[in-house]
Every structure is written in structure tokens, then in C-alpha cells.
Amino acid sequence: MSVILSIAKTTLGEAIRRKVLLVILLIGVLFLAIAPALEALSPRQELTVLRALTLGIIQLTSAVIAVVLTVYMIPNEIERRTIYTILSKPVRRWQFLIGKYLGAVSALGLMMALMTGIMLLVFVVLRKIEGPAELMMIAKVPFAFFIQMSLLAAVSVFFSTFASPIVNFFLSGGVYLVGTLFDSFFKVLSENSTLNPLVKFMATVIHVIVPNFQSFNVQNSAINPGQQIQAEGLMYLGLSGYAVTYIAILLILGIIVFEYREV
């Protein structure tokens, strides 16, 4: 375990020092800071638009950070040959991969926490939030995004065991898109009564297999407060369970591929 934690700690330190990530983070933070200026332009919807924009900025920036952070993870180690130094020590490949992933997720979590903190600070300073209950309602949305982006990072880590960074970037982005928009297609397909049952079955299989990123988009209730949300705790528990299970699958698959890879 200490091996995994050591690798995670090193990865976290590397990630924080990477300029490209800091630039992306800075852009996100700047957008968060100027978002309140847009409220003057939105008729009767100031708060809704402000919340939609700030949460959207956090989600979008986090997605970019999650992918950029992880696509270079394994290929860079191989290219710089640092992996030989690490693997020559009593470090198993699976420990290396899990350590790398945990380090990346920690860095992601830190950056997301910073953005969330700035967003909440903006809301508090501008008095856009009434009481701690409303603060909590908004704050838990980035938590769902964090779980979502951890899953995206796992997808990217899996691809990084065999694909080059550029290919990985598009593969991970593609999985994210399919995982988000397949739900809409699935709905259309499942409601089409004239469709071949085999096609419907295949659609259901894909719907079950491909990670469903859409399910993590729970921001609507925070953007438009007042909705009656049933079993919210169970939803967050389910999301966490679903993400952890899926991350485990992806990491195991990554470990299998990485074990077979010649480095």
C-alpha cells in the first residue's frame, strides 16, 4: 500500500507542477470570476443563468483537466524511460498503475475543490446564496462531477496503457461523448415500436456496457431550486457505487493490458 501511496504522491506533485494543467485551471477560475457579470444580461433568470454557467465551467474545465492529466501518464513514463527505474525496484506494474491513477484523481480533486471554493466564494460575496442549506445544495453538484471525472480519468488511464496521448485524447473524449449522448439515442430507439428487436437488444447491451456519464449530470436541481428530488442520498450513493465499480473494471483491464505490454 505504501508503494501505491508513494507513486500517488509523486504523481500528485508532478501534476500540480504541470504548466498546461495550471493554464487550464487558470482559465476556468477566470471564467468563474467573470461569470457574475453576465447576470446583468439575462432577463429574470439572473440566478439560474449564473448557476448554470458556473457549474458548467467547473464541469467543462474538470473534463479537460481529467483527460489532459491522464493521457500522458504512462506514455510519458515510457518515453522518458523513468518507468525502468521504477519497475526495477520492488514495484509491481499493477501498483504503479493504481498509484498513478490515485495521484491523478487527487490532483483532479484538488483542482476541482479550488474551483468549487471560488464559485461558492463568488456566490457568498455577491449574496447569491441564502443560508447553508442552499450552499450545500450547490456544493454537492461538483462532488457528483468529481465522481464523473474520476470515471473519465479511469477511462483515459485504461487507454493510456496502449494508446499514444493524441489517440487517447480522442478515444477518451469519444467515450465521454458516447456515454453522455447514447442515453438520448437509447430513448429514441427504445420508444420506436417498429424497430427490429435485435437492434433494440443491442442498444440495451450498449446502454448497459458503456459508462453512462449522463447520469452524473445532477446539476439541474441546483440550477433550478425548488424541485422535489426523491431519494437524493440514494442517488449519490448509487452514483458513487456505480463509479467505483466501473473504475475498478477499467483499472483491472488496464492492469491486464499493461502486464502484457513490452516496455
Partner: protein, 453 residues
């Protein structure tokens, strides 16, 4: 590890099943129930990048950006451009209540001709948008209220629908106290006089209770307002003979609504120029406040009803109204017992295309829309009103209304063919003009001004 590990593959299979169970059993149903957009809907109108963002999970972000964009169109007066944005935003994020509310208002009120008359062909779409928004946001009173308001204020007809929507609004916990009072007016307009009294009584009791626990001035003010309205209503019920009608002794005593007053309606329509008509007529009621509805429409307008149309035309929000059809509705303001007005439809060919051959001009008056001081004479249902020529008790069940219609042809309205040199005039058989004495009534003589040196 390089050896195949059956345990690892077994674990993978187990996890794959587990994730499917968690997602399909807990997450997905919960998400669909609480967080999913209203419907996938068609996203036509979004640019490629917006579409990508919307589908990639940033629906609310795109909705927010679009709504910011809509504001600039409001400022520019580019109302046509706002409509698709409203539709897109409501599809992307069906919980943006203010977008629904603003969209309904915009559709129903803002498409106007040069004379500030709304394009009534859009109103069913506004109603459908309100119904869609209410369905998507059943936890709040707002869109139920807004839809009811459309029937009450814009349509001013079909009051059972208004009652239905306002009652739904009042069931919601978040309804604002000040807005609760509207339902008693709607009940009255729907002829439900007793329900209005019962509703006011219930509100009064609630306001009394609230006043005990809330010493703020607003609580007392609210209670006083309801009490005053309730008192007035009870007095009106007595004076207008409501209790007597219910008790079966209406014939035995004198009430304000007796005997029915003959309004002496007459009207004449003159096509003074192409697409310009002059409407004039008589209404023998001296107090100011009467507005007679006039409708000029295609004779075969598909959803037309006498003096209006079927406003609830289903759930589809159609932002492309029947542009080949004409439907003009306006109010004729009565002053000095007559009305006279030129209606110019020539400047708005899109609203009034006049594509078919036959048209009707309808005149409609119901005491339900009258101010209270006129209702004091006419009653809630027109029991104190009559017209020896045009009283109608069929077109609005339970009401005594004044209604008549006249026919015009396309050639007459456009002043072409044989009507290019002749002036088309259609009128009720009793129209006899105003006479010079009545015209004098327009001049308000202030002593001293005309005689000053």
C-alpha cells in the same frame, strides 16, 4: 500476472454485472425521474458546437448562454429571433420556469400589428407552452398560474380552463399570498358565484389565523383586503338577486338586475379602403367601460368558435401558426353610447394575409368581462341585460351574451373587382346612424374656456 488469472477475469465479470445492476436498478431510474430533461426533443436550431455541448452534458450551460443571447434580441426588438431560443432553452432545461413564463407572455402578447393587436393565431401555442412547463414543474405554482392568467387576461373567454389552472396553482405550497385572491375573480367570471364566496371565506379564515401569529402590517392588510372583497361580494350577491334566484323568489322583489336593460346594439362595417375597415355602432349604456369584442376572420377558420376560437389546441407547441389564415380580434371601446373606429389591416400582410374568399366579422359581448359597476346592472351571467335583436343564450352556455356576425368577401375587403369603385357596407338591420345630438356628446364643455376673450 502474465499467467492467465481466472480469478481476475471472474472478478471482472462480477464487477461488470454489479455495475449494470447498480446503474439500471438505482442510478438510471432515479436520474430519469429527478434529473433528466423533459424529452430528448429535436434540437434543430442549435449550431454544431452548441449541439455538441448540449449532448455532452452541458444542457443547462447552453440554455443559460442562449437565454443571455435572447436578452440582446429583446433589446433590439427582434422578437422573431427570441421564439426559437425560448423553445430551445425550454427543451434543453425544462426547469427554467422564468423562460417558460417569459416565453408564454412573449408568444401571446408581443407579436402585434401596427395597431398593437396581438396575433391571436399564436395564443394556442402560448397555452401549450404553459401546459408543457407546468407538467415539467409540478412542484411550483408558477406555470399553472401563468397558464391560468393567459385564459383570464389574454383570452378572456373559456373561463372553466382558467378556473382549472388557477385551482391547480392554489394547490401548490409556494403560491404567494397576494396571488391567492385572483381565484375568486376567476370563479366569478366563470359564473361560480357561490364558489367565489366560499373561496373568499376560506382565505379570510386563513388570513385571520395568520394575523394572530404574524404581527406584521402586511398580514393585517391582507386580512382587510380579503374581508373587504368578501363584504362587497356578499352585498353584490344580494343586490344582484343571486340569493333570490337560488331561493326561487327572484320574481317577487326588486333587484338591481331587474328589469333586464336593452343595450340596443347595432353595428355597421364599411370597407373604406383596401384592408381598412370602419366599424361603428350603438350601445345604449351611458357609463364608460364597455368593450365590445370584434373578430374578423376567415369564414372557414378551422378552430373558430363564435366570437373566438378553441384556444387549447393540444400539447404541441407550434411556433409556426397558420400563416395563410386571418384572425383579427380587438375591442371596441364604447363612449357616449356608441363606438366608431377605423381598423387598418393593410400594414401587416403577414398577420392578415386574406388568402381565402370569404370572411366574417363577429361582434361579441359578455357581461362576464364587464367591470363590476356594469355587472351590478347586468348580473354575472347577463340576467340584467337584453337586446331585442342580438341576445344569444346558445353560444356560451349559462350566459346571456350579445352576438352577431356579418359576411364580407375578399374582393370587398381588398376593394377590388366590382368593389374598386363601390364602397362595401354591411350592417345590422337596426343600424340607423348616430344623429347629430349624440355626436355633440363628444365635446366636453368646460365653463369659461370657450367664452373667454
Amino acid at each position: 500476472m502474465r499467467k492467465k488469472s481466472p480469478k481476475l477475469y471472474g472478478m471482472l465479470a462480477g464487477l461488470a454485472i454489479l455495475q449494470g445492476v447498480i446503474h439500471q436498478g438505482i442510478v438510471y431510474p432515479n436520474w430519469k425521474e429527478n434529473y433528466a430533461p423533459l424529452s430528448g426533443g429535436d434540437m434543430q436550431g442549435l449550431s454544431a458546437d452548441q449541439l455538441l455541448f448540449a449532448f455532452a452534458g452541458f444542457r443547462e450551460l447552453i440554455a443559460g448562454i442562449l437565454w443571455v443571447r435572447a436578452d440582446s434580441f429583446f433589446d433590439e426588438g427582434n422578437f422573431d429571433a427570441i421564439l426559437p431560443i425560448v423553445r430551445l432553452v425550454t427543451k434543453l432545461d425544462p426547469h427554467q420556469i422564468d423562460v417558460f413564463a417569459t416565453g408564454m407572455w412573449h408568444i401571446a402578447y408581443n407579436f402585434t400589428d401596427e395597431g398593437s393587436r396581438s396575433d391571436r393565431r399564436y395564443v394556442p401555442s402560448a397555452v401549450a407552452l404553459g401546459a408543457e412547463g407546468a407538467k415539467a414543474n409540478p412542484e411550483t405554482y408558477e406555470l399553472f398560474y401563468e397558464t391560468g392568467w393567459l385564459y383570464y387576461h389574454k383570452i378572456e373567454d373559456d373561463y372553466p380552463e382558467a378556473v382549472k389552472w388557477f385551482r391547480e396553482a392554489m394547490k401548490r405550497k409556494d403560491v404567494i399570498t397576494a396571488r391567492k385572491n385572483i381565484l375568486n375573480n376567476v370563479y366569478q367570471r366563470n359564473g361560480q358565484v357561490e364558489e367565489a364566496a366560499e373561496y373568499m371565506y376560506g382565505n379570510l379564515e386563513a388570513a385571520k389565523l395568520k394575523q394572530k401569529s404574524n404581527l406584521e402590517f402586511s398580514a393585517r392588510q391582507n386580512r382587510d383586503t380579503i374581508e373587504n372583497n368578501f363584504d362587497n361580494h356578499l352585498v353584490r350577491m344580494a343586490q344582484r338577486g343571486f340569493f333570490a334566484q337560488k331561493g326561487g323568489y327572484y320574481d317577487q322583489f326588486e333587484y338591481d338586475t331587474k328589469p333586464p336593460f336593452d343595450v340596443g346594439f347595432s353595428a355597421r362595417v364599411t370597407a373604406i379602403d383596401a384592408k381598412r375597415i370602419k366599424v361603428e355602432g350603438t350601445w345604449n349604456v351611458l357609463p364608460v367601460g364597455t368593450r365590445v369584442r370584434i373578430v374578423l376572420r376567415d369564414a372557414n377558420y378551422p378552430s373558430a368558435t363564435p366570437g373566438g376560437m378553441v384556444w387549447n389546441q393540444g400539447a404541441a407547441v407550434n411556433l409556426d401558426p397558420p400563416k395563410e389564415l386571418t384572425f383579427m380580434q380587438d375591442q371596441l371601446f364604447v363612449k357616449n353610447q356608441r363606438f366608431s373606429r377605423v381598423i387598418d389591416l393593410s400594414r401587416d400582410p403577414n398577420m392578415y394575409p386574406f388568402t381565402t374568399d370569404k370572411y366574417v366579422v363577429e361582434f361579441f359581448y359578455s357581461p362576464r368581462q364587464a367591470p363590476a359597476y356594469i355587472q351590478d346592472k347586468f348580473g354575472w351571467n347577463g340576467e340584467g341585460m337584453t337586446d331585442k335583436n342580438f341576445l344569444n343564450t346558445d353560444i356560451r352556455p349559462g350566459q346571456r351574451v350579445v352576438y352577431t356576425k356579418m359576411e364580407l368577401t375578399k374582393d370587398q375587403i381588398l376593394r377590388r373587382g366590382e368593389w374598386s369603385t363601390r364602397v362595401p357596407v354591411v350592417q345590422t338591420s337596426n343600424f340607423a346612424g348616430f344623429g347629430s345630438k349624440q355626436l355633440d356628446g363628444d365635446v366636453i364643455k368646460v365653463p369659461g374656456i370657450l367664452s373667454s376673450p
